[in-house]
Each structure stands twice: as structure tokens, then as C-alpha cells.
């Protein structure tokens, strides 16, 4: 049985003006468990708090009810008061008789009556309160960044600069990501490589950063501050520590017909390769699908020419296990497949290309050494049509496209159009658009320059069909402003393909128990207030894995994620919220309902022995809640049919006691 003290606050006249505080204190005296009840002008004042502390000592109180303002205002205050008096701070309950009583009701009898009922409810709850202690868990002071694009690199650099070790896991043989494939960047038109590659080098040289290239995250266990991650280092058949990146092996490799994914298959590379000249790490990788030696044991040329002796055909995938305190997801994006967009003849004509392919065609390091030539015949195109929103904002074509706006297409299309007109003034450039969306610093000015200074022809309307005819592409579309159909016999058509999250993101989200939206973008903990944190504690979001972004936005989010990670890693211990769920394993069925509604992945299962009838033992699968991960929403408590799952601080019995008290 509790010994409860009730403290009714006047809040000057704020409460006492509409609530007869003396009557409230008197009425609550006879409630079960109440041994002391009083009122005072300002409970939150030092004098008021002292009054509480004295009463705790004098009356040996085990629980406190403060009838005062909203708990959102002073719950923390009174919990501290209780702690100072030697009570567990969670033995305090607040009856909100100001915001939800005296301020909204005008008549004294009504206000008093309601205040008494609210007080009774709080007393009923405290009667069932139990002392709660927040759990503590240590923090491993190392971060993992998954994805080595500009988002991952920037996050890693920022964390490393703060003095914490960071590992980058990149599935490709080099970091750099999509940005490495770009030519120029809007709106300033500086070259992507010029600004990215120094950062790549910084990352490689930073002693706090380890780069696991050609590697993937295989499994994630644990929770905030204490993740245990298995990283699979895929066999690249080249000893990274020996390879100097000289390129001799590549030159001599007889297998020359491997589609070059870095150039989006527009040219070929060798079976042993370095994706591009500035790759980090600059280490060769053997493509096992094409290497004759690995496929049928007949070749071995590269071994002969490798002065460093780095070639190792026997190399195996390697699993690295490492502990981390925080994980940053920076898995980036991919343009969606154009296969299903038959109307644009993408699969029928080589001269219908995506914007990313266009980037490679105009890039000095690309397949055409920067000359804009048609992929089909290598001729210079004189009429180019750019089509925006291919697969974006496509509510009606959900089976092939995306409902959302890909955000970056308007700007890069303007960039492509402008650069084309700049370099090849004899080329006609037409852009079909639904809307031009250019919010951003100097963005709109940039797009207008394309129209006004460079004479790019912007047509509001969608392209209906592209038909290859001879060496031309007949583009039929509508001009909604002129309200007419137009037909252009183009030499090249560039599709601004929608972007989607990388395919590896979904399985990763499952491993991290981080939630995703229906488009497979990671969900942020709060869309406005916690945009770089995932709902899963200790997992942070950087770059386009969270939603479409351009480079400046990606970099700023990367920095924000880094600062959150730094904030976490600089703590030695994490103090949990004690108001978390817990499972009464004796009643748990192990049915997984709770796990399925937990937004944080706080619930796991274990096989445990339980006493059966007549001294037998039976093993059952039961839920266990990780209090460091649980945030205390209570979704699991309702999903649980047997009521085995309950929530500390808001237990079923407590809430029902409140209901009973209110309805009495």
C-alpha cells in the first residue's frame, strides 16, 4: 500500500480562481492510499517544493500527486523534487487542473468537481506506480557509414574530423558514388570531379577513416551505442595492400568486351579494372563473371604483368565483424529502369538515352572523351529533345514510374541544355516539361539563363511518343501553352529518368529495423524536427536514401547526420527512458504481433525454458524488449492479445484505474 501525499497548487489565482483548492485537498484526503493532502499558492516555487520534500520525510510518503499545471510544464520539476526528497522520481503523478480544468471552465463548482475527479484519477494511478530506473548502456565510439557516395564521404569526414573513427562500407570497388559520374554541377557549373575527388582522397588519407570498398553489410545486431555489424568484403582477387594501381594488368587483360558500368555500358572495359582514374582506393578488381582465369582457369595474364604480385585468384569473401555506436545510412539512389517506357523508344534506339548517360557522353573522361556524339553512329546531333519527369510525378503509372517528384531533374536538364547550347551553338535544344521546379539558391536564375541567354526551347507539355525513323527520332508531343501538337525530328532524345532508392536499401532497412516508406525511402524520426535520424535509435540518414536531393542538400544533410553521430559518440553512457515496454514472458505466446508494430525494432525473441505442469520443463519462444531501443509508444501492448506486453509508467492496470476513477 502506498503512502500518498497530495499537493494542490493554487497557481496564484490561475487555479484557485475557478477551483476551490481547499475543497480539492480535503476531498482527496479520503482517497485510498492518501495519508497527507494540502494546498499551496505556488507548488513549483522553492517554498512549494520544500513543502513537498518536508511532507515526504514527515509522512513517510511513497508517492506524490501534484494537482497543478500540465505535466508538460512541471512534471520534470516535481520529479526532481521527489528525487531530492529521496523518492523515486517516477512515483510522481500530475493532475492537470490548470490547462485542462481551471482555464477552460468558468464556474467554481464545475471546476472544483472536475479537479477532484482528476486528482482521484492521479491518486488511483500512483497507487499502482512502481519505482522506475532508467537503464544505462555504454557507447562504442566508432561509427559506420553505409554507402560511399558524396553523402557518405561527407558524413565520414565530419565524424572523423571530430576525432571519432569511422568506417565506410561501399559496395562498388571505389567510393565516389553517382557524383563521380557527373560532368558539371548546377548551378555553378564547376566540374564534379574537381570538387569530389579531393574529398575522396581526404577520406582515404584520414587516419580516422577506414574504407571497406567492394564490401557489403551482411548483418546488423544490437542497438544504439552497441551495434554489432558483419561486413562482407567481397573477393576482388587483388591484394589491396599490394596493388599500386599502376594499371599494367588492365592494359594486358585479354578480356576486352566487358560492358563498362561506370559509363553505363556505353563502352567496354577489361575483366580486371579500375572504374575510373581517380578511384579510391585505386586498386584493381577482377570481375569474376568475365575473367577467363576464374571462369575456366585459362589465362593468368594479369599475374604475369603485376610487378607487385597483387593478383590472388584464390581470394575468398571475407567477413569482418566490428562494433559501432552509430550507423549512418547513405545508400543513395539509382535512376529507374527505362525498360517499361516503350513510348520513348528507349530500348529500341540507342539514341534515346537517360540523363545520366548524357552526363557520361559530355564528360571528358567518358566514352566519347567529352564530345557529344550520338551513340548509334558517332555523329554530332543537331536536334536534341530533353524529356522531363520520365517516371516522376506519375500517379497514374505506378507500375512503372513513381508518384513523387525526383527533384533534381529540372535543374540538371537545364544544365544539360545550357551546356549543349554553349558548346554546340548549332544544336537545337527543346525541353519538354510538366512544370519547371527550381527553388534553391540561384536555381531559377540558372534555368532562366538557359532559356533567355542560351535559347533553349522550353515546351510545356509531355512527349506522347518517340518513333525511330531512319536515323531520326520522331518526337510527338503537345505544347499546352500554344495548345497544339508538335512533331520534332530529333537526333538525340534525353530522358530525365526518375530516381529511386538503391535496391540494397530495403534489405538493409530490415537488418537495421529502420522503417521505410512505400517508395523504399528511409523514414525519418520526425519529418520536420528530426530529419536526419531514423526512428531506430542510433541509425541516421544521409543523402538520397531519405528522399530525392541535390548535392548541396545532400552535403548539408550529411553534415547534420554527422553532428548527430558526434553528439551520440561523445557520450560514455546512454541513459534510457524507463517508461518502456516489457514483456511478461510467462504469458507471452511468441506470436510476433508486438514485433510487427514496433517502429524501433526493440523487440526480439528468445527460446526460454519455463516450468510446465508437474515439474516438467517446456521451451517456448518469448518476446524480450531491449529497453535501450524502446521509446515507449505502447503500440505493442495493444497488439499483444494475451496482455503479456505492458508499458512501464502507463501500465494497463494504471490506465484502467484512471478510467475507473474518472467514471466513478
Amino acid at each position: 500500500m502506498q503512502r500518498i501525499g497530495v499537493f494542490v497548487c493554487w497557481c496564484g489565482s490561475n487555479i484557485a480562481g475557478t477551483v476551490d483548492v481547499k475543497a480539492v485537498a480535503e476531498a482527496l484526503k479520503s482517497e485510498p492510499g492518501v495519508v497527507f493532502s494540502t494546498e499551496y499558492q505556488y507548488m513549483c516555487s522553492q517554498a512549494g517544493q520544500d513543502l513537498i520534500k518536508d511532507a515526504v520525510k514527515e509522512h513517510n510518503l511513497t508517492g506524490i500527486v501534484v494537482c497543478s499545471c500540465s505535466p508538460r510544464m512541471h512534471e520534470a520539476t516535481f520529479r526532481k523534487t521527489a528525487a531530492a526528497a529521496g523518492l523515486n522520481p517516477y512515483m510522481v503523478e500530475i493532475a492537470n487542473i490548470r490547462e485542462q480544468c481551471s482555464w477552460v471552465h468558468k464556474e467554481m463548482p464545475l471546476g472544483t468537481e472536475k479537479a477532484i475527479i482528476l486528482g482521484k484519477a492521479a491518486v488511483a494511478k500512483v497507487n499502482l506506480n512502481a519505482p522506475l530506473t532508467p537503464g544505462q548502456s555504454p557507447v562504442t565510439k566508432r561509427a559506420l557509414v553505409i554507402g560511399g557516395g558524396i553523402a557518405g564521404i561527407q558524413t565520414a569526414l565530419d565524424i572523423a574530423d571530430a576525432g571519432f573513427p569511422v568506417d565506410i562500407v561501399e559496395k562498388k570497388p571505389t567510393i565516389g558514388g553517382k557524383m563521380a559520374q557527373l560532368d558539371k554541377t548546377f548551378p555553378t557549373l564547376d566540374c564534379a570531379a574537381c570538387i569530389l575527388t579531393p574529398k575522396m582522397v581526404d577520406a582515404a588519407q584520414n587516419e580516422n577513416i577506414r574504407i571497406f570498398s567492394y564490401s557489403e553489410v551482411e548483418a546488423v545486431k544490437g542497438f544504439v551505442g552497441n551495434f554489432e555489424v558483419k561486413i562482407k568484403k567481397k573477393a576482388r582477387y587483388v591484394d589491396e595492400t599490394k596493388c599500386t594501381g599502376c594499371g599494367a594488368c588492365i592494359e594486358k587483360c585479354p578480356q576486352k568486351k566487358v560492358p563498362n558500368e561506370f559509363n553505363l555500358g556505353m563502352d567496354n572495359r577489361r575483366a580486371i579494372y579500375i572504374p575510373f582514374a581517380q578511384a579510391v582506393p585505386k586498386v584493381a578488381t577482377i570481375d569474376a563473371d568475365y575473367c577467363n582465369m576464374l571462369k575456366n582457369g585459362k589465362c593468368g595474364v594479369c599475374t604475369k604483368f603485376c610487378a607487385a604480385g597483387a593478383i590472388d585468384y584464390k581470394q575468398k569473401d571475407e567477413i569482418i565483424e566490428e562494433k559501432y555506436g552509430a550507423i549512418v545510412v547513405a545508400t543513395g539512389f539509382e535512376p529507374i529502369s527505362m525498360e517499361k517506357f516503350d513510348e520513348f523508344a528507349y530500348s529500341q534506339s540507342k539514341d534515346v538515352i537517360t540523363s545520366l548517360e548524357f552526363e557520361r557522353l559530355t564528360n571528358a573522361a567518358g566514352p566519347t572523351a567529352g564530345k557529344l556524339l550520338r551513340p548509334s553512329d558517332g555523329k554530332h546531333p543537331h536536334k536534341i529533345v530533353f524529356v522531363q519527369c520520365v517516371g516522376s510525378r506519375c500517379a497514374s503509372c505506378a507500375e512503372k514510374g513513381k508518384e513523387y517528384c525526383s527533384k533534381i531533374c529540372c535543374m540538371y536538364t537545364a544544365k544539360h541544355a545550357m551546356l549543349t547550347r554553349d558548346k554546340y551553338p548549332d544544336t537545337d535544344v527543346t525541353v519538354f516539361y510538366i512544370d519547371v521546379r527550381t527553388p534553391g539558391k540561384n536555381f531559377d536564375e540558372f534555368q532562366r539563363r538557359a532559356v533567355e541567354e542560351y535559347g533553349v526551347n522550353y515546351v510545356k507539355g509531355m512527349v506522347g511518343k518517340v518513333t525511330p525513323e531512319g536515323d531520326k527520332l520522331i518526337v510527338r508531343g503537345s505544347d499546352l501553352i500554344a495548345n497544339k501538337q508538335i512533331k520534332i525530328d530529333a537526333d538525340l532524345v534525353v530522358l530525365a529518368a526518375a530516381i529511386e532508392p538503391d535496391k540494397t536499401a530495403r534489405p538493409l532497412a530490415t537488418m537495421l529495423t529502420a522503417s521505410m516508406d512505400t517508395n523504399d525511402f528511409f523514414t525519418e524520426a520526425h519529418p520536420k524536427l528530426r530529419p536526419v535520424e531514423s526512428p531506430t535509435a542510433g541509425v541516421f540518414l544521409s543523402g538520397t536514401c531519405q528522399g530525392p536531393k541535390d548535392i548541396p542538400e545532400t552535403v548539408s544533410q550529411a553534415g547534420a547526420a554527422a553532428s548527430k553521430v558526434i553528439g551520440l559518440l561523445q557520450k560514455d553512457m546512454l541513459l534510457g527512458n524507463p517508461c518502456v515496454a516489457s514483456s511478461n514472458q510467462l504469458m507471452c505466446n511468441g506470436c510476433s504481433s508486438c514485433e510487427r508494430v514496433c517502429p524501433y525494432g526493440a523487440i526480439s525473441y528468445e527460446d526460454k525454458e519455463f516450468p510446465g505442469p508437474n515439474r516438467t520443463v517446456k521451451v517456448r519462444r518469448v518476446a524480450t524488449v531491449n529497453p535501450a531501443v524502446c521509446q515507449g509508444c505502447g503500440a505493442c501492448t495493444v497488439a499483444c492479445p494475451s496482455g503479456a506486453m505492458d508499458l512501464n509508467g502507463f501500465m494497463n492496470s494504471q490506465i484502467m484505474a484512471e478510467v475507473d476513477a474518472i467514471c466513478k
Binding site: 490547462e99 526512428p535 509508444c633
Partner: protein, 144 residues
């Protein structure tokens, strides 16, 4: 006994982060609503078990309202989405049993919507008053 004016008893479950704060804001702005409304604070609307609702009716409540963050704004990202499904199913079932559907409601009230909170409560109480006393889910043992 003298005939008293019928005063319904309304239990409002409010999530800590949005609706409870919305109710506080209604207080800050001195927006009146009937004193029959008694609020129970829960961390999230998804903490509300259908058993609590039935319990309230058993103990004499005439209406039960659940308030949570607007969909998409849940402090715990997804709690109110579960509330939405659970309560849609439950309310439909109560209606199926012939229990007046106007006695139960879910309303999304943000921390900024003090006015909406007060208006919602005024409207809800009015609806419940028009229905009169809860007779279909009552436990006579609790009515003395």
C-alpha cells in the same frame, strides 16, 4: 430524487505529444469546453487498448474519444496509423452490435490545434448529449 440536467461523462484519451498539448493550448487560450470531458494522458494514441474503451463504458462513460497526432506526425512515426486501423475495426464492430456509433470517436489534434481541441470536445459532448445515457454498453452493477 430531483431530476437533474443530464450530464454525460466523457473520457478522452490524449496522446502526450500532440493532443494532450493541444488540450493544454486550449487551456492557455481559455477556450471553453464542457467540464464533463476528462482527459487521460497516454504516450501515444496507439497505447489505447479497446479494453480501456469498453471499461470506460462499463464504468458509466457515455462517450469515449481518442485523440492523437495527425497521421504522418506521430511522435513515434507509426503509432497513430495503428490506432486508425484498430479503432476503425472496433468502432465498426460496436456499430455491428447495435451500439451507437456516435459514442466513440477518433480525432487528430495537433499541439497547435487548441481551438480544434475545444471545438471537437464541444461537438462530441453535444452529440453524446443528444444520444442520452449509455444504455447499450452499461454495466448496471456500476450504476448506483
Amino acid at each position: 430524487m430531483q431530476m437533474k440536467e443530464y450530464k454525460p461523462l466523457i473520457v478522452a484519451f490524449c496522446c502526450n505529444w500532440c493532443s494532450y498539448a493541444g488540450a493544454d493550448l486550449a487551456g492557455n487560450n481559455r477556450l471553453n469546453y464542457p467540464a464533463e470531458v476528462k482527459i487521460i494522458r497516454v504516450p501515444c494514441s496507439c497505447r489505447v487498448n479497446p479494453m480501456f474503451i469498453l471499461r470506460a463504458f462499463q464504468r458509466g462513460a457515455d462517450g469515449v474519444i481518442i485523440c492523437g497526432c495527425h497521421p504522418g506526425d506521430c511522435h513515434y512515426t507509426s503509432g497513430n496509423y495503428f490506432t486508425r486501423r484498430r479503432m476503425a475495426a472496433l468502432f465498426s464492430m460496436l456499430d455491428f452490435l447495435g451500439i451507437e456509433k456516435e459514442r466513440t470517436r477518433v480525432e487528430w489534434v495537433s499541439a497547435a490545434e487548441g481551438a480544434k481541441f475545444a471545438a471537437t470536445m464541444n461537438d462530441f459532448v453535444e452529440k453524446v448529449v443528444s444520444l442520452g445515457e449509455n444504455k447499450r454498453l452499461e454495466d448496471l452493477r456500476c450504476k448506483r
